[in-house]
């Protein structure tokens, strides 16, 4: 089983983000970065499938030179090799999907496993766009994946229960939070990861135009929360809900 997984470089979700003064992005100078947690779950799942069925796991990352760190992290977890598409800034979801199409055409994997969304912009679009462009089946928000020859049975968490999807392979699967608990890279694996290949390419090499279809016009901090207060009685509560909270 040959599996393509993604590793996006995102800001550390444990750190507070600050909007840049021009509102066009966030301050990145004192931020630490890590691999998108949902991608990490996807990598873990790919490794478990490989450990069970054999095959190869390829980690793809798109972004600046530094995005290589996150690809390397995937290799430290146990993936076999990496592909780094160098891009000055993060392309939008559609461009990412079109880049992945080209890589899929070159590598012919049995499956593409991605995080359901990146925790920086939370767009949640790449898996769906990719499946559509490829004409493959898609099973998004997977909470359980089992492989049987040329089909994948995927359990998806939906409102009120679990939906079970049987999908022909090759196909696209996106990982939800409860799919698995990713491993920590072992020290010997980190040492070995240094020797694994990361192939570098540009979107232009793949013939993909990454001009953004989505333009961020303004980012702003959410308004500061005001302190709460204790009301005397129900009448005052109803009045406050009506006149201040404007919810009834």
């Amino acid at each position: 089983m040959k599996i393509l997984v993604t590793a996006k470089r995102v800001t550390d979700p444990d750190m507070k983000i600050k909007v840049r003064s021009d509102g066009a992005g966030i301050e990145t100078s004192s931020m630490s970065f890590k691999v998108n947690p949902f991608d990490e779950i996807a990598i873990e799942e790919a490794l478990r499938i490989k450990e069970d069925k054999g095959g190869e796991v390829i980690v793809v990352g798109i972004g600046s030179d530094k995005a290589q760190t996150e690809i390397r992290y995937g290799l430290s977890m146990g993936a076999d090799r990496g592909i780094h598409i160098t891009a000055g800034s993060d392309p939008d979801s559609d461009a990412v999907a079109r880049i992945l199409v080209k890589i899929v055409e070159a590598e012919s994997p049995d499956m593409v496993l991605l995080g359901k969304q990146a925790i920086d912009v939370d767009d949640n679009q790449v898996a769906q766009l990719l499946a559509e462009y490829l004409g493959w089946g898609q099973a998004c928000f997977a909470s359980k994946v089992s492989i049987n020859d040329n089909t994948a049975r995927v359990e998806r968490e939906v409102d009120g229960g679990i939906e079970v999807v049987d999908m022909d392979l090759p196909g696209v699967i996106s990982a939800d939070l409860r799919l698995n608990e990713p491993r920590y890279p072992a020290l010997p694996a980190i040492m070995k990861a240094r020797k694994k290949e990361i192939k570098k390419m540009t979107p232009a090499d793949l013939g993909v135009d990454t001009t953004s279809k989505v333009v961020i016009t303004q980012l702003a901090e959410p308004p500061q929360r005001k302190g709460g207060r204790i009301v005397e009685d129900v009448a005052e509560l109803v009045k406050a809900l009506k006149e201040e909270a404007l919810v009834i």
């Binding site: 992290y73 020290l187 980190i190 990861a193």
Partner: protein, 416 residues
């Protein structure tokens, strides 16, 4: 929290090791250390204790073999990488970092001479272990002899009037060991193997010692109760008793010949003492991180603590101590790991200076936290107690300063 390494020569691999270890320290070590800190010493090592969750995870990921060279099953880590990893582990918990460090001690000591029996019976099985079923300890301290057992080439080290409390005697092809090692042996009551530093020739005092790597399932070995103590409560410590324990000669690492014991002890101490300085950098940084975070949010007198110049100055002084501790201890550790004639006094500076800095930083942190710093609600209270232990642990700072001074007057200036 990450930190800027004032080292432009860091490789990508160094950085990856630092990042991965930091994550392990933050996500696995911190929560477990906090739980263990509030348990009794017996609960800490009980079968269902989270201590074992930590140890198994650490072994699974290879953190027990950091100090062991690759040919024997360890890793091909540079001394700088070893220091980077150990600082992160100590940032997570200095007690658990010590537990991991001593776990490898029989193998670490064995790798200094690398005899075939030792490699096969001690080092390789330890490195291959992934479930923490093989745990080492360092049996050197005795009830009446603590830091003074760490003074190779000091005059009192050769005083035959100082009677050792643990002795080995050659009898045919075996050594017979009698006596005890004291309650300060880290991992003492849970270890399966001991790097035993004990006397073989009483006419030479402590200098007449030898080093063994001993399996502790031999008949005649027994252990004391786990020690209850102020800090590093997540670290098991306790006595080991030897009653006519017969050890095959193959388990002797070194020391039967005069002079060898002192030389090997000096090499060993040059590594371990500097490592305590590296640990100090980790815990001091942990305290600085906690304090910065607290001061950024805590409002007093109408503004945040960090907006007071007085607090900024104190944070700067804490930061200075963290950085100088790292630079000194890392440099001493790297130098002494890379040479066969170690400059031990530099390791003593790393430990004495570094642990004092760590304690000062934790102490100042509590002062900035105010009343909150005194409660168990905040990590800083644990860091303070853990750091306090370090001033005595692994050689009291007073004795190490005396040893360092003695070394200095005989060796200064050393040549490049």
């Amino acid at each position: 929290m990450n930190y800027l390494d004032l080292d432009l020569d860091l490789t990508e691999e160094d950085i990856e090791l630092k990042r991965a270890t930091h994550r392990f320290a933050k996500e696995v070590m911190r929560p477990i250390a906090k739980q263990l800190d509030e348990m009794t010493p017996e609960q800490v090592i009980a079968r269902d204790s989270p201590f074992w969750t930590f140890m198994k995870k650490a072994y699974e990921l290879g953190y027990h073999t950091i100090l062991i060279p690759e040919p024997y099953g360890g890793m091909d880590l540079t001394p700088k990488q070893q220091a980077i990893i150990f600082e992160e582990l100590a940032w997570g918990s200095v007690g658990l970092a010590v537990a991991l460090g001593v776990a490898s001690f029989p193998s670490f000591a064995g790798s200094l001479v690398a005899e075939e029996t030792l490699i096969e019976k001690i080092i390789e099985p330890f490195c291959a272990c992934r479930d923490a079923s093989i745990i080492g300890c360092w049996g050197i301290t005795e009830p009446d002899h603590g830091s003074d057992t760490l003074l190779p080439f000091h005059p009192i080290f050769s005083d035959p009037n100082i009677k050792a409390q643990c002795r080995a005697k050659l009898d045919g092809d075996e050594y017979v060991i009698n006596g005890q090692k004291s309650a300060w042996v880290s991992c003492g009551t849970i270890s399966t193997h001991c790097a035993l530093f004990c006397q073989v020739d009483p006419s030479m005092g402590h200098a007449g010692g030898a080093i063994f790597a001993i399996p502790l399932d031999l008949p005649g070995v027994s252990k004391g109760a786990p020690l209850n103590k102020i800090g590093q409560r997540d670290l098991n410590q306790g006595e080991i008793f030897f009653d006519n324990v017969r050890v095959p000669k193959d388990y002797l690492i070194a020391g039967a010949e005069p002079g060898v014991y002192e030389a090997l002890l000096e090499i060993t101490l040059s590594a371990t003492t500097a490592l305590m300085g590296v640990f100090a950098a980790g815990i001091a940084r942990a305290a600085l991180d906690e304090t910065l975070e607290y001061a950024r949010n805590r409002v007093q007198g109408g503004k945040k603590l960090i907006d007071y110049p007085n607090v900024q100055m104190r944070l700067f002084n804490m930061f200075s101590k963290v950085e100088t501790t790292r630079l000194m201890s890392r440099a001493a550790f790297i130098y002494n790991q890379n040479t066969s004639t170690p400059a031990e006094e530099y390791s003593n500076v790393a430990k004495v200076y570094g642990t004092q800095c760590a304690f000062d930083v934790c102490n100042e942190a509590i002062q900035i936290f105010g009343g909150n710093g005194l409660t168990k609600e905040y990590l800083i209270e644990k860091l303070f107690r853990d750091a306090r232990s370090m001033l005595i642990e692994d050689g009291s700072n007073d004795t190490l300063a005396i040893a360092g001074g003695h070394k200095l007057i005989h060796t200064y200036p050393r040549m490049d």
